[in-house]
Each structure stands twice: as C-alpha cells, then as structure tokens.
Symmetry: C2
Subunit: 328 residues, 2 copies
Amino acid sequence: MHKELVENIGEKELIKRLAKFMPKNQVEDDCAFIQTNNNNLLINTDALVENIHFNEETITPIDLGWKSVASNISDLLSSGSKKTIGITISLIIPSNTEWEWVEKLYKGINQALDYFGGVIIGGDCSAGKEKVISITAVGIQGDIKLRRNACKPGEIILTTGTHGLSKLGLMIKNKTKFEKNIFLTKKLTNQSLQHFCRPKLNTDFLKVLLKARSNKKITKIGCTDSSDGLFQALEDLSIASNCKAIIDYEKIPKHKDWPEGEEWDKYYFFGGEDYQLIFSLPKKWANSVSNLDKNIKQIGYFTKGEIGVEFKNCKNNKLLSSKPFKHF
Amino acid sequence: MHKELVENIGEKELIKRLAKFMPKNQVEDDCAFIQTNNNNLLINTDALVENIHFNEETITPIDLGWKSVASNISDLLSSGSKKTIGITISLIIPSNTEWEWVEKLYKGINQALDYFGGVIIGGDCSAGKEKVISITAVGIQGDIKLRRNACKPGEIILTTGTHGLSKLGLMIKNKTKFEKNIFLTKKLTNQSLQHFCRPKLNTDFLKVLLKARSNKKITKIGCTDSSDGLFQALEDLSIASNCKAIIDYEKIPKHKDWPEGEEWDKYYFFGGEDYQLIFSLPKKWANSVSNLDKNIKQIGYFTKGEIGVEFKNCKNNKLLSSKPFKHF
C-alpha cells in the first residue's frame, strides 16, 4: 500500500491539512484570538517526547492524541478550570513520518476535545529527529482556586479515584512478565488498558466541590493531579504547602482485583498517568464531598511537621525507598 | 574545566533552577494564572528545532534565547498586541546538555522579556535527542485587530523596515564565500549580525497606527510579520485576503550598502527572520503613518485579481521562481 510521507506533501499543503482540524471560525493567522469575557484564565504547557513519554509499540497515534490532550486538561482541572477554551499544538515530526500517523494523532486530539471540551486554536509544525507533541491549554478559572500551596495542617487528604491502572496498562502493552502467582482478571486487564490508552478525567470535580461547600469564604484549596504518580502528587503538595502528609495505607482505594505485594504497591504509588486529583479539605467539607461522590475517598491528612509523606498501617517498608519516574 | 550536565543535576533540582528564572510571585504550580482584567487575549506558539531553525555553530545560547522570544512576540505584535503578558516554555534537551547552556538560554530569554515586556509564566522540560524550544506567548489585544485576512484592494502595502539583513548575518556566521566583486561594508556586516543574533521588534507599531488613524471606525487592518521572509509575508496576506499584491521594486527600502545582483534580491525577499511588519492601509492613513515614522515605507498596493505577488520596475526575472525556506 502506498504510504504518503509528510516530506512529500510540502509545507504549505501540510499546514492547510492541519488547519482542517481546527473549527471553521478559527482562521489561520499569526495568533489565536481569545475573547475572555472578563474571566481569568489558566494556562498550562506539557511536552510529550517519543521514547521518553511514549513509543510506537505501546500506543497508537489516535490514543496518543487523546492522551496528550487529557494530560493537559488534567492540569487545568487540578487548578480549578471550569471550562477549556482551547489548545495550541507544537508538533515536531521526522520528515519520513506518514501523513496517516499525523491524521490519526489529530483525530485522537479532536476526539478528546469533543469529550472534555475545547478546540484547537493554533500551533506550529516542524521537522525534527524524533516526535515531540507540546500542547498549551487555556482554561477559564472557576470559583475555587485549586493550588498546590493551599493545603493546611488538619485538613483531610482525598483522591478522586484509584491508582496504578495506567502503569499496569503500560506493562501489559509492554508484555511484561509478572511473577507466577500473579493472576490478572479480565476486568482489571481491560480497565488498565483503558486507563493507559484513553484516560478519563474528573471533569465534574469543581462542581462537586462547589456543591459540597458550606463556607463560601473558602475560595482556595490545595490540589494537584497525579499525572506523575500518587506519591509524587502528595510530595508536591507537601513541599508547596509546607506541611506533612500522613497517608493511611488501609484507606487507599484499590481496584478490587489489584494484586497484593511490594511490587504492586510500587506500581500503585509511583505508576503515574492516572490523572486523578489529589486534594485536601477541612473535615466537614471533605465528608460532604465524599458523600456526594462515592469515587472520592479520604486517604489521610496533613499535619504540621517536616515536609514529606508518611504512611501508617503499611507493612511494606520498601515503599518509601522507591523513586518516581524520571524524565532525565 | 568541570562541566555540569543536566542528567547529573536531577529532575527536581533542574525544575527548581528553571523556576528561578520566573518572577518571585509566579509560584510553580500545575498551571499559570492570568488575570485578564476584561482584556481579550492573543496567543501564539512557535517551535525552534536544532539543525532546522538554529545550530550551535551560528548562534550562542544567550542569543538563541533572545531570538526565540523575539520571534514569538513579533507574532503577537503582528496581530495588534498592546502588551505581552508572558510566555510558557517547553524545553527539550539531550541529557548530556551542559547546565551552562540552559542557564545562558534562559538568560537570553529574560533579557528579551525585559526589553520587549513579559515574564516567564510556566513551562515543561524533558530529555530528547535534539534541542527543541517551543514557546507560547500571551498578549493583550489592542484597539486595532491586525489580521492576515483584512487587506483590501486599493490599499497601500507598507513595511516597517528593510529586509535581508538577518539572512546576511546568518551567511556571515556560516562563513559563506560571496562572489569576488561583492564588498560588504563594516556597517552592513555589523548590522546584519545584530539583526541575526539580536533582532529588534517594532514594539511601537500599534501606537503609531492609532496616532495616525483619522477614521476611528476602522478597527481591523491587514498585517503579518516577515519572519518567513518578505515574499512569504506578501503571499500570505494575498491568500488570506484574496487579493493581488503589486510590489514596486524601486520602492523597496534597502540597506544603503546592500549589494546589487540577482542573488542579493533572493536574500532580500526570501531570507526571513527580519521580523518587520507587512501591512496595508487606506491611502490617507498610509501617508500619515509613513510621515509619522520615517522607517515605515510604502512598497506597493493590493488590487483585485488572482492571488499572488507581482513585481513592477523589477529587472530580475528569476526572482519569482525562487522558493521560500522549507521546514520539511
């Protein structure tokens, strides 16, 4: 079958084709124009590099497109964005990339934007040795500012959901051999692949927070997403807010078929790319929130003391000596 | 001398060091927060890839930092930005890059931001095979919208300045051998190197336009920047506005020491990276503008007809068969 390479398309034609993935009212120009209607904005930039963040063997271009959008919008949500305005895409691809690959990537990007909200508002494209997708997303700041540095001692730590599934999905894609006594149920396997390839986001999170809030004077709370793993999220909150996270291992929500063992704890806490929101609230608000949304679980609390993460009710002593994934 | 490589710094420390280039009130978080104060915004993304847009032999990291900012802000200015709010930086670097290189790049970035306005508001950093600097700049839309598609038949075409200097600067850096009869004056050489390494921008352009405007009903005019060369800018305006550009070769402003010849015309029209603004205005407004700012020159006009660029008073027939620089 004849494969069309981007180097044979020509730059002008390539830009024209990419412009077709933008809404019709978004004219190709030097800049995108954003009507803010007196809203304050949130802006986030994330780069995905081939063989660092993804590779051709484990993810299709259409899923990669979806995921690159999800990863950016997750950051907007973790800052309290109430609506995504749009994204700009900086795409670097080797000149022998097939046009079909680019088309599928953009198809996945638009599927995610249709699902999570937002449109492509601009971007840039160039040749390069390896694929890089750098996305900048712009969202509208909602009524509560979610910030890493706003956790307070005494507050309850919550998570919007379970962890480790995306990491397991990646390992299944990589055909990782697990220990002999490990049995993965069909349900766990399918859900893990789903989490890895097509992560969903907690788009209603801000609404739940607002609905459960009784004290309207509180307009800022501590929050981040767990894109770099649950442990990293807790550590980031602890450092930025200058307090200590105490996590009750027994309260951690796990998939009901999640295997036990030290290795599986590692996947759970350091896996990354689950895009849950990790946040802290005063006790009353925390209780209302977890009553309102049964997926949201209380997993510990912040306290005064040395910054860092401490586990209680945890038999796995090796857990804290593990290291998060490094991009260098 | 001991060189510190980024792979030996560690990711956390690297992020900490990069955060030092941001203003102190800009807390490292998942997103940057932009208070819009009811202004509409302009947003632009540009990627620079090593060995495509730059290489170590021709530009220092500090100049590269300056230039990557200038290139983005030029796009904001060409859309009518009255103020740059800030930029996010997506930086991809091989893990054996020296920290000193990164430090100098960011120094150049901040020098340009100090000069042109704006601050670093966020970004991302990852390892990769080759260096990529992708910048997204956010500016405030001023009182006149400058858009590629707003040129009209009958309007005068203007340029904020001369072209070709940046290309000549690059050729001097590349130790290009020119024909024997070509003599480059010291002034031309120095100014060309300056244009290539440390391009200036027409930051007062919008003010001049507003000052010269007699009919306040006109709030949108045709404009783009010449970052991909004067010819490309004219062609882009022609295509987006669906009219024909007629350029009077004799009116083209050249550096007084610019050599003559077909090759030199090519450098002039196709060189790129001069960051002038190319725009069109009704005759009266055009005259006021070029009276107010002596660097702004009238070089032709738009007319009904097939889209494209036509020269008059030009003896160089080969000119139009030249091709702009390709990124693929």
